[in-house]
């Protein structure tokens, strides 16, 4: 982890970086990505209550096609048995099965994912097509005990922890835009990873913050999430 740097020091920039800067964010390098380390001095309590983090610059990739499941298993991926579930791999990468033949692979909060690196470099057989999920979709994390209450204001799916298990996925509409919502708790911290159209991320960020205001939610950096691992 590098000391504080500017988000424009890399070509890969979150569309939200100006908003983060305005909130006084301190950016750090996570692997090859630059993301918000923290805004305030101690965000652990905030994250436990209600926090929103922008992880859009962190690694993720998709693969799709009839040959994808077999190829992924050959590459050592432990696949979820059914669509709309995710499973954690030994290196911390989450593999989300979006359909019988589509996978979304998400790195952990360190910005490293040996599995993603390995698959990206691997030869792919016919009917395995990579998808640029790191760019097509933004990645936000909504965490804390009020996260489900917040989502209930913008999403019609019952995402309460007692009904939406850790590792479960909902592909649905969130504040009127398409989204993939994956419950991916961090230790004991309830957390929802939200992937949606990257060009709409500012809209979604603002919509979520608006919904969070009732519960005094606010943005948090990766430090607050990573500390719960």
């Amino acid at each position: 982890m590098d000391p504080s740097i500017s988000p424009t020091q890399t070509s890969r920039r979150s569309s939200l970086y100006r908003r983060h800067s305005q909130l006084g964010a301190e950016f750090h390098r996570f692997g090859e990505a630059i993301a918000v380390h923290h805004y305030a001095s101690d965000e652990a309590t905030q994250a436990q209550s209600l926090g929103l983090a922008d992880l859009s610059t962190l690694p993720r990739v998709g693969f799709k096609g009839a040959g994808t499941p077999a190829w992924a298993e050959q590459c050592g991926v432990h696949l979820p048995h059914q669509p709309n579930w995710a499973s954690e791999q030994p290196d911390g990468t989450l593999v989300a099965r979006l359909s019988s033949s589509e996978l979304l692979m998400i790195g952990d909060y360190s910005g490293h994912s040996p599995l993603i690196d390995r698959l990206a470099a691997a030869d792919r057989p016919e009917r395995v097509y990579p998808l640029p999920r790191a760019d097509s979709h933004s990645w936000l994390a909504l965490c804390g005990s009020h996260a489900a209450d917040t989502l209930a204001k913008v999403c019609a799916v019952d995402l309460r922890p007692q009904h939406f298990e850790n590792g479960q996925i909902a592909q649905t509409s969130l504040a009127k835009i398409n989204a993939i919502i994956l419950r991916s708790d961090i230790g004991n911290l309830t957390n929802y990873a939200i992937f949606s159209d990257s060009s709409s991320v500012e809209y979604l960020w603002d919509s979520l913050l608006d919904a969070m205001a009732e519960h005094r939610g606010s943005p948090v950096g990766l430090e607050a999430l990573a500390n719960n691992r």
């Binding site: 424009t8 890399t10 070509s11 890969r12 920039r13 979150s14 569309s15 100006r18 859009s56 610059t57 799709k64 096609g65 016919e126 009917r127 097509y129 998808l131 640029p132 790191a134 760019d135 097509s136 979709h137 209450d149 209930a152 204001k153 913008v154 999403c155 019609a156 799916v157 019952d158 309460r160 009904h163 504040a175 009127k176 835009i177 159209d197 990257s198 060009s199 709409s200 500012e202 809209y203 919509s207 608006d210 919904a211």
Partner: protein, 971 residues
């Protein structure tokens, strides 16, 4: 005005005597307590007149104290028709009466009541529609005099939002049945939502008397509420209205400024019953109120309903009201019991032992005004000699309060919305409900149970049935509760016609007995027709107090039973709701490219294309035209940069990728070489042009297809739809948002790009027009496409979305030596127009086929099939009906037409302009227009009807207007 109607503690469970609140009514300062409603605070100050009635401007006051009637509607500064018995007072609140001319106490329009006989039911249908056109003259007169509150047209909407909620069981109604049902359901382990529209849980237990001592209600209420509050499985939502029932137990629940969209696996409707008024002469006078209204005033707000009262009753509840009045220090002059053989319960027995005058078999035949003519002064009591008829002998009893307890209707609205059936039981003279849908149950007084023990038992039984359906309850379902009451609380005919009328059936619309009866005599005998003809039940209270009486009157007039007559359909919403609740928080999805803020920093004026924000032009709005012309000039003579991230991007990959595109688009793609782009025109099955783009072949099995900004999602969905039929071995992925893109265009484009792109040979020979390459630009992985939309040497550079801003920065920096400048959508539109390129959706419409828009060259004649091909074959055999042609306007003095201006031939419209602008390159206005084929010949003229009807002569020219041999884009 002194607070002489306020009762001491323990009356007034809702008010806080430690907090005095001052507000104004009719510009007079009124003092109340926190927890008071407008109506209760006014009543405490002896102000009973609240408003004026809709039609005859009659004085109206408290009727229900339950937010169920139109009599209590008042005007708030930004909220007309507010219910005075629902609105809490707050410091400085300004309240006015409604619908009067002059003052509330001296309403000039009250004279209308004197001529009511000339304004019979549906008078406006009969009297003011002839001769033809007369209604237009009368309408303003009536509409000025009839009405409710006034809307504030300057109202600024405040924050409302919505929230989804999910429960195993939703219990609607927080009275004894609702509390008991919620507890019984929660005992099974189910999650329970308890919804109650009142401030304080307990429903009628908060005000109604269930025993002579008057202690049982409070005791039971406190015990039930304590258990509910202690139960973690129950969420109790007060001041919340379930405003409808929709399929699968979807319940819209309004609570303050939020609409909760609740999904419940099971719903138990414990919605209670609505007390009904008696119908007699002047039954609408302030001072005449329901018995339950008097009880609410006393118990909830510590307000004495009057000084001396008469109770008109058809059941034993009236006797309980009498006891409450006595407790509140009101002199009860008499109890007028409509029943000729009442069966007393313990309360009635107790009252009869107190020495109060009880007039069995009597009715209140008429109410009379006091000296102010604004309040009740006395009642005319007579013996009932036949159903609805009284003896001529009368007794006048002076009183300022008349409490009516003559029966109830079940609160059937939600249940009927759910598909429940409303019937009428002649023996009990009551509506009954049945046929609730699956997973929806009713309990309590809505089921006709009136004894408190029966109500609770029925609710517990409903809860067990509901939770058994959830498979979480193993308790045995008790047998149906046997009614303890021996006599129905409903009197079968509390209706007494009077020679002078004014026996109001529907207070909202000032409808009297004769109005309902005359509607049937006018031939409208069906209850639905009576409603629409008379407007009965169409007012704000939606028939809550008129449906039963109307059904009885219509049944009687048409010689049918009430069951055969029925009631009108109950539709949501249950009660009036603000539009803001339906609107909620506004969601307007917006899409921005990764370069968005660079445009703003460069002074761009943004426009919205669908959800996308795009730079229209760079510079100040007043200098718009100069900015656009400058940007065009820079592209034509130097180099410009435009953000094209909004263009659709679709990956088509797989063994059959070429075959797929060959079927989907009009051109041929099977033989397209790798490394080349090809124009892709899309038609639908009707041969109509619906989109275009370029198909870039990056590999044998890999095409990257662009689509229009607005059409990308539609094209992608269409691709999926067609391949669901074709079953080709191909994968289709919408990657629009995955790529940011720019078009660097102009004679110096190559020079600038070459500084940043060293792994692609950019020379014309190595990378010709319509070539595609993969490499890096400024170190960013990029797809580079040589395109010519603006008619100059140009490269589209597509990079991963998150690197868009970095790419923009790099190109701007690299082009600094050449004075590179960004250009916006408006300049691009002019540049492409000069080049004669159409924009789908602007130069095409829902009928445009390729031939008539001069795109026949983009349609393969050799392919066996493509979407729309068969239709285009058939159209090709028919003569053209119109042609899209290029035109110039040579007359320098002529005004420049606008898009959509008509092409005319004398009086006939023959076409329209689709694109038009002044071309700095050509030095004259140019455009595209649909014209008849006989006007499409090059050099021919046609006429455009411009702004103000000015006729402008246009000359047809060949396309493109600029660089006809394409030398510039192929540099």
């Amino acid at each position: 005005m002194t607070v002489d109607n306020r009762l001491p503690s323990p009356f007034g469970t809702l008010i806080d005597r430690n907090q005095t609140v001052e507000f104004s009514f009719e510009k007079k300062t009124i003092s109340g307590y926190a927890g008071d409603t407008v109506a209760s605070a006014l009543a405490a100050n002896n102000q009973w007149l609240l408003s004026r009635s809709f039609k005859y401007h009659r004085p109206r006051g408290v009727l229900t104290m339950a937010g169920q009637d139109a009599n209590s509607m008042v005007q708030l500064p930004s909220d007309p028709n507010a219910l005075a018995d629902r609105i809490d007072i707050s410091p400085g609140l300004k309240v006015m009466g409604q619908n009067y001319s002059g003052s509330l106490t001296r309403d000039r329009n009250a004279v209308l009541g004197l001529v009511s006989r000339f304004l019979p039911v549906a008078f406006y249908y009969k009297a003011f529609f002839k001769p033809r056109g007369m209604w237009q003259k009368w309408a303003p007169f009536f509409r000025h005099r009839a009405g409710l509150g006034r809307i504030d047209q300057n109202y600024q909407a405040d924050y409302h939002d919505k929230q989804y909620q999910f429960y195993d069981v939703a219990v609607v109604g927080g009275g004894p049945a609702g509390l008991a049902a919620a507890l019984a359901a929660a005992d099974s382990g189910a999650s329970v939502l308890l919804v109650d529209e009142n401030v304080r849980l307990g429903g009628s237990l908060n005000y109604a008397r269930n025993d002579a001592e008057g202690t049982q209600s409070g005791r039971v209420r406190d015990a039930l509420v304590a258990r509910v509050k202690a139960n973690a499985k129950i969420v109790a939502m007060s001041e919340a209205t379930c405003n409808g029932w929709f399929s699968d137990n979807w319940l819209p629940i309004i609570c303050r400024k939020r609409l909760y969209k609740v999904r419940a696996k099971q719903t138990i409707l414990c919605v209670g019953a609505i007390e009904q008024p008696a119908i007699f002469h002047n039954n609408d006078l302030p001072g005449v109120m329901l018995g339950s209204a008097a009880q609410r005033l006393i118990k909830l707000y510590a307000v004495r309903p009057g000084q001396s009262a008469v109770v008109l009753t058809g059941n034993n509840d009236g006797y309980a009201v009498a006891l409450d009045l006595i407790d509140a220090g009101v002199e009860v002059k008499a109890i007028v019991d409509l029943r000729d053989a009442p069966v007393y319960d313990a309360i009635a027995e107790h009252v009869s032992s107190l020495g109060i005058s009880v007039k069995v078999g009597h009715a209140v035949y008429a109410a009379k005004r006091n000296a102010s003519r604004l309040h009740l002064g006395s009642v005319d009591v007579r013996k009932i000699v036949d159903r609805g008829h009284c003896a001529t002998e009368s007794e006048t009893i002076n009183c300022d309060t008349l409490c009516m307890s003559v029966g109830y209707t079940p609160t059937y609205q939600l249940i009927c919305q759910a598909g429940g059936r409303l019937s009428y039981d002649d023996d009990s003279a009551m509506f009954t409900l049945s046929d609730c849908p699956e997973n929806c149950y009713t309990a309590g007084s809505v089921n006709g149970y009136w004894h408190l023990e029966d109500v609770i038992s029925d609710a517990e039984r409903a809860a067990i049935i509901a939770t058994q359906a959830l498979d979480v309850d193993r308790r045995e379902v008790p047998s149906a509760v046997v009614h303890q009451q021996t006599q129905s609380p409903n009197h079968p005919w509390p209706i007494f016609a009077h020679p002078k009328g004014c026996e109001f059936v529907d207070f909202d619309e000032d409808l009297q007995i004769a109005d309902i009866v005359n509607a049937t005599r006018d031939g409208y005998q069906h209850i639905q027709l009576v409603k629409r003809y008379s407007t009965c039940g169409m007012g704000p209270s939606q028939g809550r107090h008129s449906a039963l009486a109307t059904a009885r009157l219509v049944a009687d007039a048409t010689e049918r039973t009430v069951a055969q007559t029925g009631v009108t359909t109950a539709r949501p919403p249950f009660s009036a709701e603000h539009l803001a609740h339906s609107a909620g928080r506004s969601f307007y999805p917006a899409r921005r490219s990764n370069m968005h803020y660079r445009h703003l920093e460069s002074g761009a004026q943004m426009l919205q294309a669908g959800a996308w924000y795009r730079p229209a032009y760079y510079g100040q709005a007043p200098a718009r035209e100069d900015c656009i012309q400058r940007e065009v000039d820079n592209v034509r003579n130097n180099v410009g940069l435009i953000d094209v991230s909004t263009l659709g991007g679709i990956e088509v990959r797989g063994v059959d990728a070429g075959e797929f595109l060959n079927r989907f688009y009009t051109f041929g793609f099977l033989k397209q070489p790798v490394g080349r782009a090809r124009y892709a025109l899309l038609t639908n099955e009707a041969g109509v042009v619906i989109d275009d783009g370029v198909a870039c072949r990056f590999g044998e099995q890999h095409y990257y297809v662009t689509a229009t900004t607005g059409g990308a999602d539609r094209v992608y969905q269409s691709m999926l739809k067609w391949n669901a039929q074709w079953r080709l071995d191909v994968d289709i992925a919408n990657v629009t948002s995955a790529y940011a893109g720019v078009n660097i265009a102009g004679p110096n484009a190559r020079k600038v790009l070459a500084k940043l792109c060293t792994d692609i040979d950019l020379s014309a020979a190595a990378f010709p027009y319509m070539g595609v390459r993969e490499g890096t630009v400024a170190g960013i992985a990029a797809r580079v496409i040589r395109v010519g939309f603006v008619g100059e040497l140009g490269y589209e550079v597509h990079v991963p979305q998150h690197a868009g801003e970095a790419l923009w920065d790099a190109l701007i920096n690299a082009g600094e030596d050449c004075a590179i400048a960004p250009f916006g959508v408006e300049a691009q539109r002019l540049l492409r127009l000069e080049k004669g390129h159409i924009i789908i959706g602007q130069d095409t419409d829902a009928m445009s086929n390729p031939t008539e828009v001069q795109m026949g060259w983009a349609v393969s004649k050799l392919k066996p099939f493509f979407v729309g091909g068969r239709t285009l074959q058939e159209l090709g055999r028919l003569p053209l009906k119109r042609c899209l042609v290029g035109f110039v306007i040579d007359d320098p003095t002529a005004p420049i037409p606008l898009e959509s201006h008509l092409v005319v031939d004398g009086d006939k419209m023959t076409g329209r302009v689709t694109s038009v602008n002044y071309s700095p390159t050509l030095g004259k206005p140019i455009g595209l227009a649909y014209v008849p084929p006989n006007c499409a010949e090059t050099g021919g003229n046609f006429t455009i009807k411009s702004s103000g009807g000015v006729l402008v002569v246009a000359t047809v020219v060949d396309l493109p207007f600029y660089d006809a041999d394409n030398r510039r884009q192929e540099l």
